[in-house]
């Protein structure tokens, strides 16, 4: 088998990742630094269909839907990022603690995981969002606090299996502390799996933020967000203003698909032998 070309599968996948990441980062930073007047109210431009000036058309208040989508998606990404950070830290700490200490700690962590996974995710999100005062804070806290269980399980399984390996037993016998073992043996081993889990957590967080917002328990109406835009568009679909739902929906879908793509591709790159398992 010859593969001398630079344009091999590995390069293609890398390029794919770079493109996807560029798009997502582009949206993220554009939205972060966009001037609010760009998606402000302009009553003279009410309900315009998509055109060169307004790529995605305008809504009933004459706001440019394209800029609103960018800002909205960017807001979603910020929440997704926060949620991923919190979830990953929680998952890492709980997963490792559970595997290393075992016994009571393990049972407690498992109980927490089962408790979180036992409730329908959306219901849990709405409950926490309401408890935390709804709005931006509510939905961020809710999304951040509900995405750790699956990652925790992965980390725990990984570490559990490591715990009885020769070199871990050896370092234990040599009198190394739990912390040293965790940092030098466990973390480096778990890291790749963990990072991929982290990236794959993003689309969940974004989708959940959008759904909770759509249902009216999340981001407030005055904040640009895909969930808000979709909820507003419900009243206009029946009168034929298709662009208000279609484009924002596609933007959300694209973002989610791209994150999934990055995650899955990274998995292939870091683990090229997975096909032989």
């Amino acid at each position: 088998m010859r593969n001398t070309s630079l344009w091999n599968r590995r390069t293609r996948l890398t390029l794919l990742i770079v493109l996807a990441a560029t798009y997502l980062l582009g949206v993220f930073f554009w939205g972060l630094f966009i001037d609010p007047s760009e998606y402000g109210v302009h009553y003279e431009n009410k309900l315009l269909a998509p055109s060169a000036q307004h790529l995605f058309g305008t809504d009933a208040m004459g706001r440019d839907m394209f800029k609103r989508c960018i800002k909205g998606l960017s807001n979603s990404l910020v929440i997704g990022l926060l949620a991923s950070l919190v979830s990953s830290v929680v998952a890492l700490v709980m997963g490792i603690a559970s595997a290393v200490f075992g016994g009571f700690v393990d049972r407690f962590v498992n109980l927490c995981v089962d408790l979180c996974m036992g409730l329908p995710h959306l219901v849990l999100l709405i409950l926490i969002s309401c408890m935390a005062g709804r709005g931006t804070v509510g939905v961020t806290v809710a999304v951040a606090l509900t995405h750790w269980p699956s990652l925790t399980r992965i980390v725990r399984q990984e570490v559990l299996q490591l715990r009885n390996t020769q070199y871990v037993l050896a370092s234990r016998k040599m009198g190394k502390s739990y912390l040293t073992i965790a940092l030098t043996h466990m973390v480096p081993h778990v890291l790749p799996a963990y990072l991929i889990g982290l990236i794959l957590l993003f689309p969940h967080a974004i989708m959940h933020e959008a759904s909770v917002t759509f249902l009216g328990f999340g981001l407030p109406k005055e904040m640009p967000a895909i969930g808000v835009i979709l909820a507003e568009s419900m009243n206009h679909i029946t009168t034929g203003k298709w662009w208000m739902a279609l484009f924002p929906g596609l933007m959300l879908l694209l973002a989610v698909v791209l994150f999934d793509l990055i995650g899955e591709t990274l998995k292939k790159l870091w683990n090229p032998n997975s096909g032989n398992e």
Binding site: Q157, G197, N235
Partner: protein
């Protein structure tokens, strides 16, 4: 070393495969979950649509969508159902006519004693409830005493001023008051009579028995209420045999109307420029105004009569210059055009179709005058950002558009845009009512008021109401002259004096602009062309999110 690296590689392989499985499973389950939700939603929507189809076969029945508020509360008059004045199952002794004057309903006539402490009503004879029992004075006495006993369940009909109610024979009732209370007739019009023999506070929640033109034939919680003609109605037989009041989402209702399944559909301003085949848009007059409370106190902590502490006041709106500049400087018509597609009329106080409401009018859109007022008060834009400031204080405040009311949010946004011309920044926030009431004394809120009773003046302007009840005088407005005028209105022994005093109270209050009145809204409905909703007998619609159109259901004719 070698075995270590092998185990590491193996570990990583295992890790990847596990991440793969775990994540995939999770993705799938969420997808399935959201799919299940979607189908459920579709089902519930088609469910209500199906019920529409079922009943639409009958030519003598109509399907109406009049918003959801009718499904929110108990149908029991004793608990305050339809106290805004458009009942259809139970009837009150008197009712308001198209000029907001009271005319006979279950009473034939009434008289008020010289000292205004005794109200005597002669009752209509030969009226029976839909269960066949005759209507007599005993039922009236029963109803009023029942409400008095359970006053806590009925916040709308306040009978605390009523000392006693007595039957004088079968067809005369005498009410005695503790003290002069000129809005007592409004109270009488609010409370519909229930039968003393068959009243049951549980079954009446969904199946009240009354003397009205229609009776409840079927009640499906949050789905539909089916009304059928009350055969024994005293006022003649209505034309339409069956009315199905259907609960659905606004957008679903609209698409059902487009497909011809609804005969009347209430629509928000979003839809008023649309056309539906064989349906015509009717815009009906209301007494419903939208205003913004502008707290008149500076920020501080105050106590109510129970000693509870509240944060009150707003440092920007407490300056009368800001309140006045807004009131005269904004362009109400432009706000209405922008927010509501032109639906509604500019308003600077309560509506003229109420006999007690102030008729004082003033020009708005006086931008230069408003700017001058602001500048004289020290509000200037020194840093050139388009927003005025006074010292360190920016001329900027939050405005809450409460609840799930798209129209109030649109109105607030249009106001904020308009206020920019004056150099005032308004940040619109959409909050649920439970958040809004917590902030009601500090943050301006978009309110909706529309009722026959002038007691709204007492609750929105009187200083003794501040902090004592929800929604009451949230601006903290305090003026002894205004309080005195309100007291005079309550104590008046005839309607003319009372109305004059109410107007005086409003004149005093409005001169300090505690409320920024914006619009007298209109209710819009698409009505089938073969259905006559008898617009000439429609009363000005009280507050009610679209449901008051059924006020004259008995006059509707299906051709």
């Amino acid at each position: 070393m070698k075995s270590k690296s092998i185990s590491l590689v193996l570990g990583i392989i295992l890790a990847f495969s596990m991440v793969g499985c775990g994540q995939k499973a999770a993705t799938e389950s969420t997808e399935a979950q959201s799919q299940a939700e979607d189908t459920q939603k579709v089902e519930s929507q088609t469910g209500s649509a199906d019920s529409t189809v079922e009943t639409a076969d009958d030519a003598e029945s109509i399907n109406v969508y009049i918003g959801g508020s009718i499904f929110d509360s108990s149908m029991d008059p004793v608990k305050g159902f339809m106290s805004y004045g458009y009942p259809f199952v139970n009837e009150a002794l008197i009712q308001a006519d198209t000029n907001s004057e009271y005319v006979a309903d279950l009473a034939t006539d009434w008289e008020v004693s010289e000292d205004a402490l005794t109200y005597t009503f002669n009752l209509r004879e030969g009226v029976t409830f839909s269960d066949g029992t005759p209507f007599t004075a005993e039922d009236v006495v029963f109803t009023y005493e029942e409400v008095q006993k359970n006053q806590a369940n009925n916040e709308n009909v306040d009978l605390t001023k009523l000392k006693s109610v007595e039957a004088d024979g079968d067809y005369k009732v005498v009410f005695t008051l503790n003290e002069c209370y000129s809005p007592f007739l409004d109270t009488v019009a609010m409370l519909q009579i229930v039968p003393s023999d068959s009243y049951n506070s549980e079954t009446f929640d969904t199946a009240p028995i009354g003397t009205g033109a229609y009776k409840v034939a079927q009640y499906d919680t949050n789905q539909q209420i089916i009304l059928q003609i009350n055969e024994s109605y005293w006022g003649g037989t209505p034309d339409i045999e069956q009315v199905n009041i259907i609960s659905m989402d606004q957008d679903t209702a609209y698409s059902n109307a487009v497909s011809g399944q609804l005969d009347v559909v209430m629509v928000g301003s979003t839809y008023i420029n649309e056309t539906i085949d064989s349906m015509t848009l009717h815009k009906l007059e209301t007494m419903d105004v939208r205003n913004v409370s502008l707290p008149t106190l500076t920020e501080q902590v105050m106590k109510d009569s129970q000693g509870n502490e509240y944060n009150v006041g707003n440092n920007v709106t407490s300056d009368i210059a800001v309140r006045k500049a807004l009131s005269i400087g904004i362009n109400r018509q432009e706000i209405i055009d922008n927010a509501f597609n032109g639906e509604g009329k500019p308003a600077v106080n309560f509506t003229d179709n109420l006999p007690w409401a102030s008729t004082d009018d003033y020009e708005d859109n006086q931008v230069d005058e408003a700017k001058k007022i602001l500048e004289d008060a020290g509000w200037t834009d020194a840093d050139g950002d388009g927003i005025r400031e006074k010292g360190d204080l920016k001329c900027s405040f939050d405005l809450i558009a409460p609840g799930n009311d798209e129209d109030r949010y649109k109105l607030a946004t249009a106001l904020a845009e308009n206020a920019k011309n004056l150099g005032i920044e308004i940040n619109v926030r959409n909050e649920s009512w439970d958040v809004a009431v917590v902030e009601e004394n500090t943050t301006p809120i978009v309110w909706g008021w529309g009722q026959f009773s002038p007691t709204v003046i007492y609750s929105t302007y009187d200083s003794e109401m501040f902090l004592e009840a929800q929604y009451a005088n949230v601006t903290g407005y305090t003026n002894a002259d205004c309080d005195a005028a309100i007291e005079k209105a309550f104590a008046a022994s005839n309607q003319a004096d009372a109305n004059a005093a109410w107007k005086e109270a409003q004149a005093i209050g409005d001169s300090e602009y505690p409320y920024l009145y914006l619009v007298n809204i209109e209710h819009s409905y698409f009505v089938k062309d073969n259905l006559d909703i008898s617009e000439s007998t429609q009363i000005p619609h009280p507050h009610g999110h679209g449901s008051p159109i059924i006020c004259n259901l008995k006059d509707w004719v299906l051709n």
